[in-house]
Amino acid sequence: MFRILFFLSSGLFLGWSLGANDAANIFGTAVGTKMLDFKIAAIICSIFIILGAVISGAGASNTLGKLGAVEELGGAFIVALSAAVSVLWMTRVGLPVSTSQAIVGAIIGWNFFTNNPTGVESLTKIVGTWVFSPILSAIFSFILFFIVKWFFERSKIHLLRMDSYTRVGLVIVGAFGSYSLGANNIANVMGVFTTSSPFADVNILSLFHLSSTQILFLLGGFAIAVGVFTYSKKVMMTVGTNIFKLSPVTAFVAVASSSLVLFLFASEGLKNFLISHGLPSFPLVPVSSSQAIVGAVIGISLAKGGRNINYKLLGKISLGWITTPIAAAILSYISLFFMQNVFMLKV
């Protein structure tokens, strides 16, 4: 048990840092502008992240598995650790970073080390989605902004009542955003462990069936929740007051749009529905919630006439698509070498 926990610790650490950073994308403005109390936001966020991870986490995780199926716990430990360290290091040097990009880079590093071919189709799908997701998020927020504006201009709702509705709206999109984040990003945290999962399936009172992967996702979900409770308040205050300067209503638009993007790239149900109706479906790929929210904010800026678009930030994000996976891949490759040759463990 101790051995399992030790190997899972890197994934759990990655989960913790995901919770600490990404919860702010969902509840940052709501908490930063004091529309919602942090404790309420953290509780909603944690519950829905865990639900999303356990119920809908499998789709995006499968795509990562196709990119490279890490069969040994030792290898999975190093892959997750390399991603986590890359995220930590890049955050410290102030570069925008996404766990999705870090984990993909780390898996590719593992592929190189173990001479496994990297699934080119999966890689193209994943990289294409990274570029596409902020653009899609911008399109959603652009449209949603006009709908919300149209509604507010015609509804003649009193400022105080609108305040109440906005709070309810922020809670609803926050819950949806947390669910989508859990569903989409649990793959980053626990995806590499699915092939080597040490757990057996569990039946709870013949009512609930949890597969070994779902148990892993449940654990990962808890790690994310711990990250939310222990560290995200600081990040939320920064996001809510310093970077984006969104009003509570525009925050609603931004969170709804980015959550929808995360959901589209995570929901197997939606994918099956679209396919069964002969419609083009979205690939199930872990995407960056930070980049989705930045895309949404840009969409809002464009809807407002294109003022205040931070092109420098856009450049940094594009740079992140390249630097993060490369850094994680190199780190993963080097660490795997040490794990195999110094600690004599199978990777």
Partner: protein, 216 residues
């Protein structure tokens, strides 16, 4: 919980509306008081003076209650400062109306017949500026796109009041009133009445900024 929250909101909405009613009525009472004074209806003037003094205290109390509730219930964190700023500035209008009537009551200026209509016109434009700024404030809470229309009207009436004030002062100083002190006294009252429209314009200026901030 949600119901309790909505009840609080509704209660506060009503209080804000009542506060704006008080501001609007103080403008009307002020005008009626000046009219009664000029028409030499002492009893009616005194009655209006008592009314406006009570209204001023009531408005103060209501404003404090709204402020207390906005902070206790943690409502509109984003616009709370603006709303309180707005209400405090509106309070300046009520104060100004009350103080002007009080000065009439204490100093009893002698209004010559040739200046009576101009004094009435000046009071009328100040009253209208107050009415329009109250409408602008109501729109700020409910129909943000109408705020600018009402603000334009406030500017218009303030400008008219300035015009009348200047003409009134010229008439007074070019008149055959012998005592310079009386001329200065009349000028003081012309300026005092005109200050009400100035106060209304100041609120309007702030309101136009608040309205821009409220746009989503």
């Amino acid at each position: 919980m949600a119901k309790l929250f909505m009840n609080r909101t509704k209660q506060l909405e009503e209080e804000i509306s009542e506060y704006l009613d008080l501001v609007s009525r103080s403008g009307l009472i002020f005008y009626e008081a000046i009219k009664s004074y000029i028409l030499d209806d002492k009893d009616r003037f005194n009655e209006k003076f008592v009314t406006i003094t009570e209204m001023e205290s009531e408005a103060d109390e209501k404003r404090r209650s709204i402020k207390h509730k906005l902070y206790t219930y943690m409502l509109i964190p984003e616009s709370r400062g603006d709303v309180l700023g707005l209400l405090e500035n509106m309070d300046g209008i009520v104060d100004c109306c009350e103080k002007t009537v009080e000065r009439f009551s204490i100093e009893c200026p002698e209004i010559p017949e040739f200046a009576q209509q101009q004094f009435l016109n000046l009071a009328k434009f100040s009253r209208k500026a107050v009415e329009e700024v109250v409408k602008a404030s109501r729109s700020f809470f409910k129909e943000i796109n109408l705020v600018e229309d009402f603000i334009n009207k406030v500017h218009f009436y303030e400008h008219e009041a300035d015009d009348v004030e200047e003409k009134l002062k010229r008439t007074v100083f070019q008149s055959d009133i012998k005592k310079f002190s009386r001329k200065v006294h009349l000028r003081y009252f012309a300026e005092k009445i005109s200050t009400i429209s100035d106060e209304a314009e100041e609120v309007a200026e702030r309101l136009s900024v608040y309205a821009i901030k409220r746009e989503i």
